[in-house]
């Protein structure tokens, strides 16, 4: 789930921090700049792992900060494709389910990746799965007995396989002169989002696959 990335950057230490040992000040500044931020095509940065090397601090003309050229390793959150992770259901709607791992919650399971056959129950506001059902349309599925349905409720812990992730760089371009002052703000897309699947055996809510008796029969559902 987590990887180490090696990053090179130039970091400024303010004079107020000159009393602090430079390694500590550098790590602090790097964390301030990168923690909890998404780096395009890298992932969600968590924290600094360590400093690989740092040059001497140099003073630039114009300000009193010491500028260091640093190379460091950063702990980054980026599950690889087809990795299996545990997540909690944050919300469900007609288009699919949204999951969260606490520090990151742009994880989506679109309808295509739900176990078949399944449907969305608008009363419960949750998706459910009907194992071994021959029904194909949502209408038929909603007619099924409620007791047979395996619901995926909010707050449940689910095992999912990461299928794909997407980075979106929404750097605002230079302000266009023609548009004047009021620039319309477009709907913000998440800079980093993940698509996951729960369509296979073994995926989905963890309780579904917990075998009650220790009799070793492999692919039994709960």
């Amino acid at each position: 789930m987590f990887v180490l990335s090696i990053i090179k950057d130039t970091i400024a230490i303010l004079p107020t921090n000159f009393g602090v040992p430079s390694a500590q000040a550098l790590i602090s500044e790097i964390n301030k700049k990168y923690a909890n931020r998404v780096l395009h095509d890298v992932g969600l940065c968590i924290c600094v792992f360590d400093l690989v090397e740092a040059g001497e601090g140099k003073v630039r003309y114009g300000d009193g900060c010491l500028w260091y050229k640093v190379r460091f390793r950063m702990v980054v959150f980026r599950p690889f494709a087809s990795e299996v992770i545990l997540a909690k259901v944050k919300s469900s709607d007609e288009d699919g389910i949204r999951l969260s791992v606490g520090f990151f919650d742009d994880i989506y399971v679109p309808l295509a990746y739900l176990p078949q056959p399944s449907a969305f129950d608008p009363n419960e506001r949750a998706h459910f799965w009907l194992p071994d059902s021959e029904a194909t349309t949502a209408h038929e599925l909603l007619e099924s007995a409620t007791a047979d349905r395996m619901y995926i409720d909010q707050g449940e812990v689910v095992r999912v396989r990461v299928e794909a992730d997407e980075f979106y760089d929404d750097e605002p371009g230079p302000p266009k002169a023609s548009e004047g002052i009021a620039v319309k703000r477009e709907a913000r897309r998440a800079p980093y989002s993940m698509i996951c699947s729960i369509a296979e055996q073994g995926l989905g809510p963890v309780p579904w696959w917990k075998s009650a008796q220790p009799d070793g029969d492999a692919m039994e559902e709960a």
Partner: protein
């Protein structure tokens, strides 16, 4: 700013949890000293001239606490793991011929049922067949090796607050773990602070 290598090594959840807990303990210790120093200064009647206050990034604290909460949740196996047990687990996974990604996932998810293993390892029956049970036994063994010993193992982490003096904080002692006996085959655990034993095994560049 330049990304030299976006994916130079893989980390297990356990390693990241330890790292974040250390960071958390440092922050709390630092805040405590800062408060203590301030109180002493006030008591001594000095003017509270702000000599040096190091601000701790809000972002860092947020992601750190939420990640600790997620990684130490009770549905995660990290509560039952330790450096020694993970080194032993990766050692015992050697003969099964698994890829790095599969080994990492086994360490992260600690599957104890065949179904769970099925999603992690591709073509399970062809590659492992009846050795599946041995693999699952090895995983269970590494989990049972220790009961949760962390002082703040399953406790919900308190809200982000800069002043923590009212919480009885126990600094997470990593030193205690190293007195366990190791498996003779396991790599010697060298506490360079980088999880050298585990990380070295899972290093992507090794392939």
């Amino acid at each position: 700013m330049e990304v030299v290598n976006a994916r130079s090594a893989l980390l297990s959840n356990f390693e990241v949890l330890n790292l974040l807990r250390e960071l958390d303990a440092e922050h709390i210790a630092r805040t405590k000293t800062a408060i203590r120093v301030k109180k002493e200064e006030e008591a001594a009647g000095k003017n509270s001239h702000d000599t040096h206050t190091e601000e701790i990034s809000e972002n860092l604290r947020t992601v750190e606490l939420e990640a600790i909460q997620y990684l130490s949740a009770d549905y995660q196996p990290s509560l039952h793991q330790s450096d020694a047990s993970i080194t032993q687990l990766t050692g015992s996974l050697q003969p099964f011929g698994l890829s790095k990604a599969e080994k990492l996932q086994i360490v992260n998810l600690a599957p104890t049922e065949p179904v769970e293993l099925y999603v992690i390892v591709e073509e399970l029956e062809d590659r492992l067949g009846n050795r599946m049970k041995d693999l699952l036994a090895a995983v269970s063994k590494s989990l049972n090796e220790r009961a949760p010993e962390h002082p703040n193992g399953a406790v919900v982490v308190p809200e982000v607050k800069q002043t923590h003096d009212e919480d009885a904080v126990e600094v997470y002692e990593e030193a205690d773990q190293e007195t366990w006996e190791y498996d003779a085959n396991a790599m010697e655990f060298d506490d360079t602070g980088e999880g050298a034993g585990v990380e070295g095994d899972l290093d992507v560049d090794d392939d």
